[in-house]
Point group: C2
Chain length 132, copies 2
DNA sequence: ATAGATGCAAAGGGTTTGCACTTGA
DNA sequence: TCAAGTGCAAACCCTTTGCATCTAT
């Protein structure tokens, strides 16, 4: 049988609140902030507290099940790890964040000589299909 | 003679504290966070309060004299406007932030149909020449 | 039984705001 | 004069932490 997720050597337990939070992330299909995750999970566990959400998220990040999605100027969002490389598009009207496929070309050309490019982060912005 | 900067139709006045804050930005030659600007300006105006710095920065941003430099996962920094379009490279070893010239190609190809692309934000990461 | 999880409330950063007072034009 | 700016403290938002309690294993 499968080994449970671990965090600093501790076993991560299964509880109704964590189930609800986890399902919020798997069902969302888009990066969620702690607040959003809290509100979604509260539909199932109304008494859920903020701290629990933050603790769960932080453990899952360290355990490698979630990855932070950091958009410039905004608090962190999180999404399931293991997706293939992608970037994000932020709608300036509704604030929604969407995944976009592909990658820009010519990144290496931009790197100053002597620098070593290891990763990149791209955020497109404008209007989503709903708001356009 | 030159028209003074304006903000929402109000004239922006000249005071010793604002002079000190402004000079911190012009002298720095790199993006400053509010805290850094405060500390630099306090060398000249020791009694300077945080609120004054935030109010000055926000007015200058709206007046177009400063632009925010937003790096993913970090509080906003600000720099003088008017620089030519550029992006940033952040060194994961020394934490330094560098400007890089140019722009990636093929951004429009990444935009989902129906979406309207208005701007983009790119952060390269890796090792700078010093740390490589 | 007991390590791990929870909720609450307090505490910490960063940023904004209300208010009475000061100051530049 | 008097609108704009200032300092202080309180208020906010987001996130973390201490603690007593609860619960999965």
């Amino acid at each position: 049988m499968a080994r449970p997720l671990r965090h600093n050597g501790r076993t991560l337990r299964h509880t109704s609140q964590r189930d609800a939070i986890r399902d919020a992330f798997t069902a969302a299909g888009r990066p969620l902030g702690p607040r959003e995750a809290l509100e979604l999970a509260r539909k199932r566990v109304p008494a859920l507290g903020v701290a629990t959400v933050y603790r769960a998220i932080n453990q899952w990040v360290e355990a490698g099940w979630l990855v932070p999605v950091l958009l410039p100027g905004e608090p962190a969002r999180y999404e399931q790890a293991g997706k293939h490389h992608h970037h994000h598009f932020r709608c300036r009207r509704c604030g929604g964040v969407f995944e976009v496929e592909g990658c820009p070309a010519g990144l290496r050309k931009m790197v100053p000589r002597g620098f070593k490019l290891e990763s990149h982060d791209l955020v497109l912005a404008g209007l989503c299909a709903q708001c356009a």
